[in-house]
Symmetry: C2
Subunit: 462 residues, 2 copies
């Protein structure tokens, strides 16, 4: 396609989307249904539309019917915090869930926070959560206490004990049988769609897999040619296809926004694609995830966008689309509806923060990502002991568009960019709880700066 | 190029190489010179001919003039052991250098081992080492005690102290100035070539960079557009071009085998390309390296080979080519001359072992790589403490040709392959020193096996 052709296509898409929006806005009185499918530990490179050898035809078709983002971020690289951010539109360390929750933890996502389910329930939505919750396992913190009418699933990771399957607040199976789990999650979701089709409804389907231990039903085992991990991903893909079909069968396909993503990068298995790092890292492989959205008539088909978006954006986007009242607390996300519909290529946003636990370690603004500190980074160490474990480095700056592998630190000649990102981080971090601010200030004071040899000509050193 | 065209080209290359070999064998009485250039911590993806954004025109041209391998392995993913293997043709844990040596270590590569320099010196070669030695810093372990007529360089890593520059056994600069080091190494190498041009000679040039701290001379700083790491790599590339030119100027270009590789994967900076893992890991990114060889008239131009080779192979290959007598101890490498010259696509070889320190962790045979144990692997851990740091896994099997990222464990359906590799490892490991055998047996007894859910249908489980 020539530049001109691309330009006309873009103009066409924008016009089409606007026309569709206007037509809808006139004709439509029924608020749209929301289906949010969330994988667990799925890597950026694990779907065939993102370059994997694992065939995922249903997700590929969903992307072809809608939009696929290549710079979509989770707000954490581990389970509980990423879910806290997804459901509140606020950073995990802001809402008090900076780390993975244990089944025995007495708390969870604090009651002072409003979840997307609570927001939509107030707007008249039927709501259900099917799958891995991981925002508190004690009564008062389970999904049914946080805006969901009903719940079915394992309430935390499948490698945690006791491994129980719950319906609402009751344990119905122990140990939960893993190999049929995706099938059962799918059936529960389809049942919910069928009984809620007069809508509006919100289905939140955070899958248990491909988090380890891996398991798939017998008809998927050994079929992918890419090991059990591939088999499990293919069953998730099947599940997506089944849910899309159920929406069609229920006659609500054209009034439902369906989104697919994952909580964080791959763990032992799975592929981050060309990205550096994995689950738990603040490199891109820990945070960048597939994101696919489909809404026939609203989201033009066949879009692939490099524009940046994050899980923090989903709540404000859903609020705008559904007309639900936003939670009262300040949000960290922005409405990306204009981007999804092709009306705007980018949406304006502040710096995006990469936390490891309560420790701010990196920030992205535009094409640039600054690793501000190495404080507490789980980092490769070449040799045990020897006193060289935490080799001091100066802050690193990567152009994550040109260099998604974060291979070549560009901090040597870009002092102005570093200063700008630092200033933005300094402003934003002040709005966080005091302990988070203190940790940040402390890490900045430690100034882990690598001093190059005296004679080295360094311009614009940060 | 069509399959037929490729086939004819292949046949042509083989015929040409054979003809050249025969002609040479008749006409040539002078043994060839050997130049071995070795980078430090350079990643598989750090040269433009291996996909990097860093422009490396001299190495790209060297590859175009000869052969470039895409499955070439170092025998270790850290400095000292990889050099011990390179210079002896034997596994580092076999020769007593399983880990990185400290400047204060009293020993080094044991005197009972024969280095490539000793082998060539006995065959009448002039020998010089220019650069990072790292096989012992005390008298008796320095290059001049191990077969090199002369030495110039920093005798260990540039992040170790005291940072001294030595000529032979004397410290001539302290602290060694890093920014002009590559220039000085290059000039020393060129001087050696010029004074040895009546040959035969062996130049071993293990560069100090791109090991951190990074430094380049002023004319390279800020020029690569890929940060200081890119600048440093470009100066190494310049150095290669300078040496190739010196060989031409000295009239020995057509009687010199020049090889280029690196000791292990990238550390903080640098790119492993699509490979998983970095320096210190037993994933491919720690062990797989660029390898480029050039010998006009012998190695046909323009070859890119996926055939496997390792640093262990260099000594036997050089012995065959030079007619030098092999060391008496059994070697782990094989002669890859038939592969480099295009006479054979593959050479027959035993299983290749990936050690971390004294711990055998993985083995490759054919396209398959078996991670036999997770004992002591420096591995990503998602959360501090919590007792889940060393999550037990069953052995993992990857097809590293189809899946260079080691993303999808294929152990579920390939019991026969696993058993075959295990048997080969069991046979080979028995030839190692007793402590290495004991560690291996112990790790096998610990059987870190992940047990899947009861009902999971696993065929051919290992």
């Amino acid at each position: 396609m020539s530049t001109n052709q691309r330009e006309s296509r873009r103009t066409f898409l924008k016009t089409a989307a606007l026309a569709a929006l206007t037509a809808r806005a006139r004709a439509q009185s029924k608020p749209p249904n929301i289906v949010l499918i969330y994988a667990d530990d799925l890597g950026y490179g694990d779907l065939s539309c993102y370059g994997s050898n694992i065939a995922t035809p249903n997700l590929d078709r969903m992307a072809a019917d809608g939009i696929r983002l290549t710079h979509f971020y989770s707000a954490s690289s581990v389970c509980s915090p990423s879910r806290a951010a997804l459901l509140t539109g606020r950073y995990p360390s802001r809402v008090g869930v900076p780390r993975v929750l244990d089944p025995e933890d007495p708390g969870g996502l604090p009651d002072s926070e409003t979840t997307m389910a609570q927001m939509l329930k107030r707007a008249g939505y039927a709501t259900m959560c099917v799958g891995k919750w991981h925002l508190g396992a004690k009564p008062g913190f389970l999904p049914t206490a946080r805006g969901f009418d009903s719940y079915f699933g394992i309430p935390y990771s499948n490698d945690m004990h006791p491994r129980v399957l719950m319906r609402n607040t009751e344990v119905i199976e122990q140990p939960a049988q893993l190999e049929t789990l995706t099938q059962r999650y799918t059936q529960e979701s389809v049942d919910f769609i069928n009984r809620s089709k007069n809508g509006p409804f919100f289905l939140y389907l955070p899958h248990t897999f491909p988090h380890i231990p891996l398991a798939a039903s017998p008809e998927f085992m050994g079929k992918s040619g890419e090991g059990v991990y591939g088999d499990v991903v293919q069953e998730l893909d099947w599940s997506v296809g089944r849910i899309l079909q159920a929406l069609k069968d229920a006659g609500v396909d054209d009034n439902t926004l369906v989104m697919f993503s994952s909580d964080n990068g791959p763990w032992y298995q799975g592929s981050p694609g060309r990205l550096r790092g994995r689950k738990g890292d603040t490199y891109e492989g820990g945070f960048r995830e597939p994101f696919i959205a489909r809404f026939p008539g609203w989201i033009p088909a066949g879009q692939v966008s490099q524009s940046m978006a994050t899980t923090l954006d989903i709540l404000p986007t859903v609020a705008r689309l559904t007309g639900a009242a936003l939670p009262e607390k300040p949000l960290d996300g922005v409405d990306i509806w204009p981007m999804l519909t092709g009306q705007q290529q980018e949406v304006s946003r502040d710096v995006f923060l990469y936390f490891n636990d309560a420790y701010l370690q990196a920030a992205r603004f535009g094409q640039w990502k600054l690793h501000v500190a190495r404080y507490n980074v789980p980092m490769f160490t070449p040799e045990p002991a020897r006193g060289r474990r935490n080799l001091p480095l100066r802050p690193e700056l990567y152009n994550v568009v040109q260099d998604p592998e974060e291979s070549y630190d560009r901090s040597d000649r870009n002092g102005a960019i570093i200063a700008d990102i630092r200033a933005r981080v300094d402003r934003l971090i002040k709005t966080f709880p005091e302990d988070i601010v203190n940790i940040y200030n402390d890490s900045m004071r430690r100034k882990v700066v690598y001093t190059p040899p005296d004679a080295l000509p360094v311009e614009d050193a940060p």
